[in-house]
């Protein structure tokens, strides 16, 4: 299958490893990945902060870039939620029938990364190897907008060597919330502090998620506390494989 990757603006800039991991997993499963280089951003930050006008051209640009793409893979639940929930609202507001049609036509082709694997491709074992204790943070968008359910867990459980520990109070927001983290920094930090408390209770070495935005926030708190937990996008864990045995390499 030809899969078009929407890397998202912040993954592109700050988390290129996630994109590389998505490419690695999908190619390992025998699919072809394309990257349409004209892509930029879904407009989520603008839209959610109240700059709907500024988000509008970003939506138009997105529609243009991904016209004709059969399957669009997005390693970010919040960007998928933006597209699914707010593109139709913006299109309806424009009262432009062509735009409304284009958005309707786009939605069934958009998949969050774990949705793509489990629902579209029917895969729950991607042949990964990751011998570490891991806990999984369910982002609010994946939980309440996408309803991804246990899809990430199904994928993680099939990873050889991985020990999955459930995160207590996993339905609680980490406090990121885009510009909320800055506009209401003290409240956001208090929420983060609770989340970090839950993560540390699991004794996991890695906190995974389907959203690097939450992870950037959680990682920001963990590294500030010098806590021994690493944050990783689920794609990066799914991309990890057994080291090719090469007895000489250790010397």
């Amino acid at each position: 299958m030809l899969i078009s990757l929407f890397i998202t603006c912040y993954n592109d800039t700050l988390f290129p490893e996630t994109g590389k991991a998505v490419v690695a997993v999908l190619e390992r499963l025998g699919h072809t990945v394309e990257f349409r280089e004209a892509q930029t951003c879904c407009g989520q930050m603008h839209y959610n902060t109240g700059y709907q006008q500024e988000a509008f051209p970003l939506m138009r640009h997105f529609l243009e870039v991904f016209r004709g793409a059969e399957v669009i893979c997005i390693p970010s639940a919040s960007c998928v939620a933006m597209i699914r929930e707010h593109f139709p609202v913006m299109a309806a507001d424009s009262t432009d029938p062509k735009l409304i049609h284009e958005v309707n036509d786009l939605l069934p082709r958009v998949f969050e990364f774990t949705e793509l694997l489990v629902d579209k491709l029917g895969v729950t074992d991607v042949g990964a190897f990751f011998p570490h204790p891991v806990t999984f943070h369910t982002s609010c968008h994946s939980l309440r907008s996408l309803h991804v359910g246990d899809k990430p867990m199904q994928l993680l459980k099939n990873i050889r060597g991985l020990k999955l520990t459930e995160l207590p109070d996993s339905d609680q927001c980490c406090g990121f919330g885009g510009t909320f983290a800055i506009k209401n920094a003290p409240v956001s930090s208090a929420m983060l502090s609770d989340k970090i408390g839950s993560i540390l209770k699991t004794n996991a070495q890695v906190c995974a998620a389907g959203d690097n935005s939450c992870l950037m926030h959680i990682d920001g708190g963990l590294t500030r506390q010098k806590a021994p937990v690493k944050c990783m996008h689920i794609a990066e864990i799914l991309a990890a494989t057994e080291p090719v045995s090469n007895p000489g390499s250790d010397q």
Binding site: G50, H141, G220, T223
Partner: protein, 476 residues
């Protein structure tokens, strides 16, 4: 016209107020405990209803339908209530409602009233208005009594004193009820309130309450409560006055079959609250001889105008959204500066005030969506929050630094070429800030982030650069 929502217009912005509340460790422990308990109970009794989602959808549709035809339903209610011996008054705003109520009390020459918990009366600041007329209002809901005796503000829509623990309440009761001894268990405190109020129930001749539902078909009013103070106030006095927001109307008596299932389970996590009272006008030989309904607008009719945010008026004040909100959980209700706190407060308070005050409230949310999930009438609170943020921005009330940042970002994101240039700029600009791949102090308004959190630095190569390089390598 003076629309008023408690003291919200004078309240400090949410970030400032929240910062102060975050420093109150005792209050935060109390709020956390209380919301944990209600949330667990609510989840249990909602989960045992196989048709919960169907009930929510019906409730949403009934409320949305009523709002679409509100003028007609209000007239229908007025007609039916009047036919049953009730007197219906219309109040444009807080001052008018306060004046109507004071006039009714004065016409009987009374100086005291007993009150059922009504948030709407806090909205219009009825108590101070009555006190100014020389009338003493006695709050009879236990939590409202605690708030009133402590000269405090409600911090929750359903349990307004949840920020207070039993030790604080004991101290307050000892002092204000002039008691010599008092145990420190909730049972002891409740018993003290019972004795303190019983005498007032039997003596005071005028009762005031709100309405959980006002039924257009029959002109009836329904009050949902637990303690029996509601029944006392609406049964024993000679005169009863219901202050009813115009959005409280439901079309038919039978619609209660939906709301009386959703409200108790959502509000207090009970299958049914101890008491519901439904009455229609005046009944011979049972209850008050005079019944007044004050229909209050106070900004509501204006909220109706926006089809996207109109759903705010579907609210049945169950406070389920407060109990699940991670922001409320940290700050408690006072940070919102309004008697309506939590997610619903964040959307209703600024809208009642035509977006002229409380503009920081729509931003008091991480948009996590827990409120929408819990709402028994399916108000899409995150969607409304975003709409209201749009209104704040459109009115030019957003901070200048934010406007510049957003405009710059939208320029940078308008094409991939500009984005690539911006990425290069970020890598260069961050250079003096980065230590070991991380930034511990960000400049300008971004500094709020780095007070408690590090920031990952942008790596040397963006994804798009890697992709280009990889393709070149594959082709060579």
């Amino acid at each position: 016209m003076t629309v008023r929502v408690g003291n919200a217009a004078q309240a400090p912005d949410f970030p400032e107020a929240a910062k102060k509340q975050l420093a109150n460790a005792q209050m935060r422990r109390n709020v956390r405990h209380a919301t944990d308990v209600i949330r667990a109970k609510r989840n249990r009794v909602a989960a045992e209803m196989p048709d919960w989602e169907a009930l929510r959808e019906s409730a949403r549709q009934i409320k949305a339908h009523t709002l679409r035809h509100l003028d007609t339903y209000l007239e229908q209610f007025e007609k039916a209530c009047t036919a049953a011996g009730g007197r219906v008054h219309w109040a444009k705003d807080a001052d008018e409602a306060n004046a109507i109520i004071a006039a009714i009390i004065n016409s009987h020459g009374e100086k005291e009233v007993i009150k059922i918990k009504t948030m709407t009366s806090d909205e219009i600041r009825l108590n101070p208005a009555l006190e100014a007329e020389g009338i003493t209002p006695f709050e009879t809901d236990l939590a409202d009594l605690i708030v009133q005796l402590g000269n405090d503000q409600p911090s929750h829509i359903v349990v307004p004193a949840l920020h207070r623990n039993k030790t604080e309440i004991r101290k307050l009761f000892l002092e204000k009820m002039k008691l010599e001894t008092l145990g420190d268990q909730p049972e002891d405190l409740t018993e003290a309130a019972r004795r303190y109020l019983r005498e007032k129930f039997l003596r005071v001749k005028i009762g005031i309450g709100g309405a959980n539902f006002a039924i257009a078909e029959t002109g009836s009013v329904c009050i949902v409560e637990s303690e029996g103070n509601g029944r006392m106030c609406l049964t024993l006095p000679q005169v009863f006055i219901s202050l009813v927001g115009i959005e409280k109307i439901i079309p038919e008596f039978s619609d209660l079959e939906v709301f009386l299932q959703l409200l108790p389970r959502s509000a207090t996590g009970e299958r049914m609250n101890p008491y519901n009272s439904i009455w229609t006008g005046i009944s011979p030989n049972d209850g008050p001889k005079e019944f007044h309904v004050v229909l209050l607008d106070n900004g509501r009719s204006e909220i109706l105008a926006d089809e996207k945010t109109r759903q705010t008026l579907q609210c049945i004040r169950c406070a389920a959204c407060l109990n699940v909100c991670p922001v409320y959980r940290q700050t408690g209700g006072h940070a919102y500066g309004s008697i309506y706190s939590g997610p619903i407060g964040a959307i209703v308070t600024p809208q009642l005030q035509s977006m002229q005050h409380s503009q920081s409230l729509p931003y008091a949310s991480s948009l996590c969506g827990a409120c929408y999930e819990a709402c028994p009438v399916k108000i899409n609170i995150p969607e409304v929050l975003i709409e209201l943020r749009g209104k704040v921005v459109a009115a030019g009330d957003a901070p200048a630094s934010e406007k510049i940042a957003m405009k710059t970002a939208s320029f940078a994101l308008s094409s991939s070429r500009r984005l690539a240039t911006a990425q290069k700029f970020v890598r260069i600009a961050q250079w003096p800030l980065v230590h070991d791949g991380t930034i511990s102090k960000l400049p300008g308004f971004l500094g709020a982030w780095s007070e408690t959190r590090n920031m990952r630095s942008a790596p040397a190569e963006s994804f798009r650069q890697w992709w280009k390089r990889r393709r070149k390598e594959q082709h060579s």
